[in-house]
């Protein structure tokens, strides 16, 4: 056990279920993410990994169960909750915060199919995401002079801070030299980095990464993992990551949660998961005997 992982629970999913009509995309999934951890969510395509991300971030409303963020703060609660023995307790009121509200409580995410502010510059992409650090209102943004009472010159002082922060983030991610490029024109790998930089601009406690290494070659993947570890240490982050690159997951993560067809399959350290027969079966298929029958 690593000393940077603390017992404090950052994110807790209990009996989370999401149904789309008759299809159960996520069924009764529970896990806890501790502070400082790199927690990986893996599973075959269509297992419901991204759906879980969308439930945590409030893009989808919960059907059943409960999601807690930073202990006291309940961000979503479905119609039914469960007691310690797993018996159902019908709940009075379903609670669902708006996505922006959830994210501003200390979460940030990236997307499986990159979603940048495409026609803006790299610099502005990150600068936009820093918005929560400035609290000047519309009228204060009209006063551009240094002179004046403190409440009126907020724009100048705060904007300078945002720019310094943006510069720092771009330098950490190694994309400072691309700052004036239009985001859509960046090479693919740099777009992924920019997306992470934009997420870091929100000063998150929990960072959700949805397949950050998709489309990268093995060297780039390992470099990215080092970068993720570096920013985790630097900003004291907890990371929840979805990934298909097994070498990245096995070497980089502290704990792994395996999903298959929306159901929990296994949970444990990389070594435990690697030796789990069910996981091997879900990924590679059943071992066949000499006749070719299962």
């Amino acid at each position: 056990m690593n000393e940077r992982i603390r017992d404090e629970i950052v994110l807790e999913l209990s009996h989370v279920t999401k149904r789309f009509g008759g299809l159960t995309a996520v069924g009764d999934v529970s896990f806890k993410v501790r502070k400082g951890e790199i927690f990986a969510l893996i599973g075959p395509n269509g297992a419901g990994k991204t759906t879980i991300f969308n439930l945590i971030t409030g893009v989808y409303a919960l059907t059943e169960g409960e999601i807690r963020f930073l202990d006291k703060c309940v961000i979503a609660r479905g119609g039914v909750t469960y007691d310690a023995d797993g018996a159902q307790i019908p709940h009075g009121k379903a609670l669902q915060l708006k996505p922006y509200d959830i994210m501003s409580k200390g979460m940030a995410r990236t997307f499986q199919n990159i979603r940048l502010f495409k026609s803006e510059t790299v610099f502005n992409n990150v600068l936009t995401a820093c918005h929560a650090d400035a609290d000047y209102n519309v009228f204060q943004s009209l006063w551009r002079w240094k002179a004046g009472p403190k409440w009126l010159t907020k724009y100048r002082t705060q904007e300078a801070k945002l720019r310094a922060k943006t510069e720092e983030l771009l330098k950490i991610m190694g994309i400072w030299k691309y700052r004036d490029m239009i985001a859509a024109n960046l090479p693919y790998g740099q777009q992924r980095k920019l997306e992470i930089a934009r997420a870091l601009a929100q000063a998150p406690v929990l960072l959700l990464l949805d397949e950050p290494a998709a489309g990268m070659n093995p060297e780039e993947t390992m470099a990215l993992m080092e970068l993720i570890k570096e920013v985790r240490d630097r900003f004291d982050l907890t990371v929840l990551i979805i990934e298909h690159h097994m070498d990245l997951i096995m070497s980089g993560s502290d704990r792994i949660f395996v999903l298959n067809f929306g159901k929990a399959l296994a949970e444990g350290t990389p070594a435990e998961v690697q030796n789990n027969a069910e996981v091997v079966e879900a990924y590679l298929g059943k071992e066949e005997n000499a006749d070719g029958h299962a």
Partner: protein, 311 residues
């Protein structure tokens, strides 16, 4: 050409520019197409005329009242329609714009205030509105609004609006309250349109509901796209050109609207992103560059890149 004629075109450009600026915030920056902006202009015009004629209030108060009432209406409309996406929002604004015009088409008022008679007679509208909008006043108003708008879009508020246009889900996931920013854009564009409506009414000297047909709304949207979405200078250039063009084309008589349409189409083909293509014409930047060149200083622009790559 007499100065009187040119002045008329310039005043029209000024208040049209105010409407287009507002629409630029909504369409160019926040990415929501409105085809009912003539409705807001209509409200602003009528309210300001009622203020100045029925209640004898000063011109400035009339403009402000027109703008505020239009803004309140915009906020109410936003509350209902802003959850609609793309085309649906478009259709809703189109309907509201036409509804406002039809309400004024059927509105009959006959007030007697302090012994003065105020008549508002449906489709006939209001006549003999005091001519208070001069070129000087409109220029001052429009310059103030251009500066204020460019300051606004260069702040975190403008960046959040742009983020919504670029990718709404990513904007939400960046913790941006997309609904309230859409609401802000809606309110501001309604405010601008309302004030412009008051200027229009006090320039023409009369008001009729048929001045605010749907074609007007589409004209404003064309100006925003023509100048380039997300560019203030683009809106200015686009508006002035498209206001002057029909007048310059008077030489070709009945064919002028054909040529007008042709000119718009040609620009769209040659510059598909609009005249300015979403970029700003930064006068200060070029002046700075020119003076530095003249003073034979080193070019300041391609900064630190080379040094960093060398490291």
């Amino acid at each position: 050409m007499s100065w009187y004629y040119i002045e008329g075109i310039l005043i029209q450009s000024c208040y049209t520019l105010l409407i287009v600026l507002g629409l630029s915030i909504l369409t160019g920056y926040t990415g929501m197409f409105s085809f009912g902006h003539a409705g807001f202009v209509c409200i602003g015009g009528y309210v300001s005329v009622i203020c100045t004629m029925a209640f004898d209030l000063p011109y400035a108060v009339g403009l402000l009242a027109g703008g505020l009432v239009s803004m309140i209406l915009g906020a109410g409309l936003g509350r209902i329609t802003l959850r609609l996406k793309g085309d649906y929002f478009c259709i809703a604004t189109l309907g509201v714009g036409e509804a406002i015009r039809l309400i004024f088409n059927n509105l009959q008022l006959n007030w007697s205030i302090n012994g003065k008679n105020f008549m508002l007679d449906g489709a006939k509208g209001i006549a003999s509105v005091p001519l208070k909008t001069t070129f000087g006043i409109s220029l001052v108003i429009v310059v103030i609004f251009v500066i204020a708008t460019s300051f606004l879009v260069n702040s975190k508020h403008g960046r959040c609006m742009l983020a919504i246009r670029e990718n709404e889900l990513a904007a939400q996931m960046s913790g941006i309250n997309t609904f309230s920013y859409k609401m802000l854009a809606m309110c501001m564009s309604a405010l601008y349109a309302g004030i412009a409506g008051g200027m229009l009414a006090h320039y023409f000297g009369y008001l009729q509901p048929k001045m605010f047909m749907m074609t007007k709304s589409t004209e404003y949207t064309i100006m925003v796209i023509f100048g380039g979405m997300g560019s203030i200078t683009g809106s200015v250039v686009g508006t002035v050109l498209l206001c002057a063009l029909p007048e310059l084309l008077r030489a070709v008589g009945d064919w002028r609207l054909v040529f007008y349409g042709l000119a718009v189409i040609v620009i769209m083909i040659v510059r598909p992103m609009g005249l300015m293509g979403g970029k700003e014409l930064r006068i200060g930047y070029y002046v700075n560059r020119l003076t530095r060149k003249l003073l034979k200083k080193s070019d300041p622009l391609p900064g630190g890149d080379e040094e960093e790559e060398a490291q």
